[in-house]
């Protein structure tokens, strides 16, 4: 244990020392020379912050008429440099009030509700219960039209007596894409693999087909993300006399592109 602790402390100290060396501007070659994306301040002034968040202090202010070069973007912040090479982070909201070389207002996309309606791809992570057992799940969806999308999802259900893995494909229909709280219906099928826990007796894994139908709701939150809640009913086709059924609910956070 002490050895472990020593190793960790060494690692920490090493990284602390390397901080100073890494802080130099040697990495500037990274920034492409061809980048001449420039905007002119059109409001009376624009604030530069030391980092890409509202919590970082304002370190500089550029006046109306000054030209800023756009360097890189992190979430809703843009790193810029002014004519004298001063660097700072400017919020996208402020940048949208600047002008580009043609004298027009700069057009930089800020993910909004409008984009939510016209999205093409969405992906998310969800958690919930499958027949009162915890389920973790992830999915990727592609919107073919405003109403219809195809989805692929994987789930892992971890119970006391077995572990279940599921792979499924589904068609999703959304009747009201323009609503902020948009309900949807889904129907699909896939494979389900049941691995009984081998602590008491060893039983073979079983792989079965399954079909499912469900309803759900997408709730747009902000930027490019939304909350997704869904309830699905599964029918597992087994070799036994009767098929098995299960109900699942999941809640998660998704991102659209």
């Amino acid at each position: 244990m002490i050895k472990l602790l020593q190793r960790s402390i060494c690692l920490l100290l090493f990284s602390m020392l390397s901080l100073e060396a890494a802080a130099d501007d040697w990495w500037k070659f990274w920034v492409a020379d061809s980048n001449t994306q420039q905007v002119r301040v059109a409001e009376p002034f624009i604030d530069f912050r030391s980092g890409p968040a509202q919590g970082f202090p304002v370190i500089h202010t550029s006046e109306k008429g000054e030209w800023l070069t756009l360097l890189k973007r992190k979430t809703d912040w843009m790193k810029v440099s002014d004519a004298k090479g001063r660097l700072g982070w400017v919020s996208i909201d402020d940048l949208l009030l600047t002008e580009d070389a043609t004298g027009d207002t700069v057009s930089i996309t800020e993910p909004r509700f409008d984009d939510f309606r016209t999205r093409r791809w969405e992906s998310g992570l969800q958690m919930g219960e499958f027949d009162s057992t915890a389920v973790n799940s992830g999915y990727l969806g592609y919107w073919m039209t405003a109403n219809l999308s195809a989805e692929l999802s994987v789930s892992q259900i971890l119970g006391n007596s077995s572990e279940i893995q599921m792979l499924s494909a589904a068609l999703v229909h959304q009747p009201f894409p323009q609503w902020r709280f948009s309900p949807f219906f889904r129907i699909g099928g896939g494979q389900i693999k049941i691995k009984p826990k081998a602590t008491l007796l060893s039983v073979d894994n079983s792989i079965n087909s399954m079909a499912h139908a469900g309803i759900g709701m997408r709730c747009y939150v902000s930027d490019r993300f939304f909350v997704r809640l869904e309830v699905n009913d599964y029918k597992v086709f087994t070799n036994e006399e009767s098929n098995e059924e299960a109900t699942e609910w999941k809640l998660g956070l998704s991102v659209f592109f």
Binding site: A53, T75, G138, V255
Partner: protein, 224 residues
């Protein structure tokens, strides 16, 4: 006579005056020409093209540290971490970790007893989590050699999520909660120190109980 000689002496001044007058006119003419340069630059005003601006919302990193596996000693932990920054405050994170459980006190005292096979001692976990940068700030470091002071952006964040832990021949749903401190060395390199608690129910020692596993780790990550 006097006037004549005076004129002779004055001539150079006159000449110089006339000369400078013509020179001035010439210069004026030249400056008038400069308004229109010989070669017109072929530059058209360009609109901002967003696709040329690098966005850095993803973070990929490795971490190492110590995890105490309840009943099975503390072990070295290694893993990889991917994060996606949704906003300046919120981020999603996925982690994969690997450790190896040690021996229980019972195994040590009893001598030749082994509760788990070597394969079952492998401790593997994954989780997906939601993080919140609750205290963004700056840290100041005085260089040990140069004496210069450097300012680094930092974030203190809270994190919580869920996933699964594969240990002792069992794969269990696992909840995770913790906090971390991130120091941004520059725009694309960050150092993390984090403390996380992993909870899951397990019945390896007979009856089912909640196992609490504390992770203390440090890591480096790259934004891209």
């Amino acid at each position: 006579m006097e006037i004549r000689t005076k004129r002779i002496f004055l001539m150079p001044h006159l000449c110089r005056g006339v000369l400078s007058f013509f020179l001035a006119i010439g210069a004026m003419a030249a400056s008038a020409e400069e308004v229109k340069p010989l070669i017109e630059p072929d530059v058209r005003p360009q609109k901002v093209d967003e696709s040329l601006i690098d966005t850095e919302n993803f973070e990929l990193g490795v971490f190492g540290g110590v995890i105490n596996i309840e009943d099975f000693e503390s072990s070295m932990l290694y893993g990889v971490r991917v994060a996606y920054h949704l906003t300046e405050s919120f981020f999603l994170e996925a982690n994969l970790g690997l450790a190896e459980g040690g021996e229980t006190s019972f195994e040590k005292l009893a001598g030749n007893v082994e509760l788990l096979s070597d394969e079952d001692r492998e401790y593997r976990f994954y989780n997906v989590a939601f993080g919140y940068n609750i205290l963004p700030g700056e840290a100041f470091l005085k260089g040990p050699f140069s004496g210069d002071t450097y300012a680094f952006n930092t974030n203190f964040y809270l994190i919580g999520g869920a996933g699964a832990t594969d240990f002792a021949g069992d794969n269990r749903f696992t909840a995770m909660a913790g906090a971390g401190y991130q120091v941004l060395v520059n725009d694309w390199l960050a150092m993390h120190v984090t403390f996380r608690e992993h909870f899951y129910d397990i019945d390896v020692l007979g009856e089912t109980k909640t196992s609490m596993n504390t992770e203390l780790s440090t890591g480096l990550s790259f934004f891209f």
